[in-house]
Structure formats: C-alpha cells, structure tokens
Amino acid sequence: MKKRFRVIINQDHCKACGLCIEFCPNDVLGVSARRNRAGFYPVEVKDQDACAGCAQCALMCPDACIEIYRLPAPDDDQAVEEGVQQ
C-alpha cells in the first residue's frame, strides 16, 4: 500500500530560512530559482514522491507556510477488501 503525500508551500510567505530543508529526512524540498515578492528564493518541492508524510518540515516552519495532505492510493480499497476476507 503506497501512501502518497502532497506538500503545499505558501511561497509568498516563505522566507527561505532553510529549516524545512534541514529537517526533511528524504530530500523532498529545495530552494526554488524564482524570487517571491519579498525578494526571497522560496522553498519548493523537488521530489514529491519521496515524501513519507512525517510533517517535520511543517513542524519546523516558523511561518506556518507548509501544509501536508495524504492522498488515498488507488490500491488502498482492494487491500482493505483482501484484509477483510482473510
């Protein structure tokens, strides 16, 4: 069962402090090449599939810029059915 996570970053509020990148264990995040209105190079998602949903990035962000969502994986329902039948 593969869980899929989506990391959404508010790039207008991001101040590029780097804490999220530092505390992500899976190299999901990196610095973007585009500046935001405040003149920072905000963080962006580099490798979404690597995200394990630990939410440490969101935990550490001083600006509450990060939201994390878990998407239902397509083979979740089938796995539950099989589990019930056993």
């Binding site: 989506r6 402090c17 920072f40 935990l59 550490m60 509450a64 939201e67 878990r70 998407l71 239902p72």
Partner: protein, 255 residues
C-alpha cells in the same frame, strides 16, 4: 485546503492552524517567534478555545501579535501584560487570556507584574520568549543575556561585575504556590518543538481548569542580533543557551 481537484479526497496531515490569521508574520527568517505563534495557535484550535481567547500583545518584536492571532486582542504597555491579563480575567472570567512576552518585556520592565500575577495565582497563561537579547530595539542586553555575550550595550561581552548575571525566570517563579504549570522548552528540532507544544497545551489546560498561573519559557533564536544564520542560531541554543537555561518542567499539571 488548497483548491486543487486532486486534493478533494485528501486527508489533512498538517494544516495552517485556525488560531492564526492569514497575515504574514513580520519576524526575521528563522526567528522562532513564528514557531511559537504557530504552536500557541495549534493549541488554541485543538482545545477549541479560539472563540473565547484574548491575546495580549506586548512590546518587543511581537508588538504586532494582535495581527497574527485569530482572537480578540489587546495591546499592553511595556511590561504590563500580566496586569492587563488579570484585569481582563477578573472582569471576564470566561475568557481565556494569555500574554505573549519577550525577555525585555517580562524580565526587565515587567518583572513585578509577572511575579505578582503568579503570586495571586490568577489563571492566565504567559508565553515567554527568551532569546537573550532586546530584538525590536536592535540588539541590546536583556536580563537573560549570557555572561560574555556581546550585545550593542555589552560590546565587550556581559560582565557580571557591571551588569549582573542572567535572570532565571522559571527558577524564580517555581516556588510560588499560585503556579499551576511552569516549564522551559525550546524549538530547535522536531522533538523539542513537540515538547514545547505539549507544554503550551498543558499551560492552557491549567487555565481552562482554573488551576492557577501558567508560564512556558521558550528558549528562542534571534538570528538577526546574534548575527547568525537560522541554523547557526539553533545550534547556538543547543550548544550554549541550554547550558545556562536547561530544559525542565518545573511545575507539572496533570488535570
């Protein structure tokens, strides 16, 4: 919830807390003021008390806190937050009242008010940001500045013969019977951030239960006036500040 179709069925793992407004916080990059605001906001949401909370913004970098917390709010004169809190709580006891104070506001000009409020055992909560420096006014010595630490008013490093020793607020308040919850935490890695949130939650729970005064001291960064990057500042807390200000739960609340 962002407006993308593929997130329509998504489960929220972490969202921006409802206790924060949408206003961007003005703090410096990597300043843990923002983290502290976020944790308080999460706790207010989790405990379902946003609707009856009054935030007291005090003087310092957090002077605009009334723009960030999604609650009724009031601006207090420098150091007087706990007196204002008591006035509100006595006149409106169903309100949940908290002050958000820096080390200048609480430990310098406001020392009398915080001690007397603790002494009275008023059920208000104090969030105390200790970053060893006066931030808003550009980096002067605070009562919590470390010995030898250079600031704009201790350019040669804090000398105890001139400027005394660092003030230990939790140790000062711990013996007071009116204190229901008292802890020193920090926010330098996921473990300490989670501990900080847990302490903040206990502090507000103590207030909800009318158990008495609660205070959480949060050892915090000031990258700007420590002249460090955000990560260097976190390391300085770990390597230097925590030696002076050890993390501890001084008075626990079980509820």
């Amino acid at each position: 919830m962002p407006d993308t179709p593929d997130l329509a069925d998504a489960e929220v793992v972490y969202h921006r807390p409802a206790g924060l407004t949408e206003v961007q916080m003005r703090y410096c990059p990597g300043c843990t003021h923002g983290t502290a605001h976020k944790l308080v906001a999460e706790v207010l949401e989790e405990l379902d008390i946003i609707d009856r909370t009054v935030a007291i913004a005090t003087v310092g970098c957090s002077v605009y806190a009334y723009e960030y917390f999604n609650t009724d709010a009031i601006q207090a004169a420098h150091g007087r937050g706990p007196a204002v809190a008591t006035g509100i709580k006595r006149a409106s006891p169903e309100s949940i009242v908290f002050t958000y104070q820096g080390d200048g506001d609480l430990a310098a000009i406001g020392l009398s008010e915080v001690i007397h409020t603790a002494q009275r055992g008023d059920s208000i909560t104090v969030i105390f940001i200790n970053n060893a420096v006066f931030g808003m006014t550009r980096g002067q010595m605070a009562p919590t500045t470390l010995l030898g630490q250079k600031t704009t008013t201790t350019p040669l490093g804090r000398d105890p013969r001139i400027a005394g020793t660092p003030m230990m607020i939790c140790e000062l308040l711990a013996p007071i019977p009116g204190v229901a919850y008292l802890a020193r935490e920090t926010m330098i890695d996921p473990k300490t951030v989670r501990n900080a949130r847990r302490s903040i939650k206990k502090a507000f729970q103590a207030q909800i239960d009318g158990a008495g005064f609660s205070l959480v001291e949060l050892v915090s960064t000031c990258p700007a006036w420590w002249h460090m990057s955000p990560l260097e500042a976190m390391a300085w807390i770990r390597d230097e500040m925590l030696k002076q200000y050890p993390l501890q739960i001084f008075v626990d609340y079980e509820g």
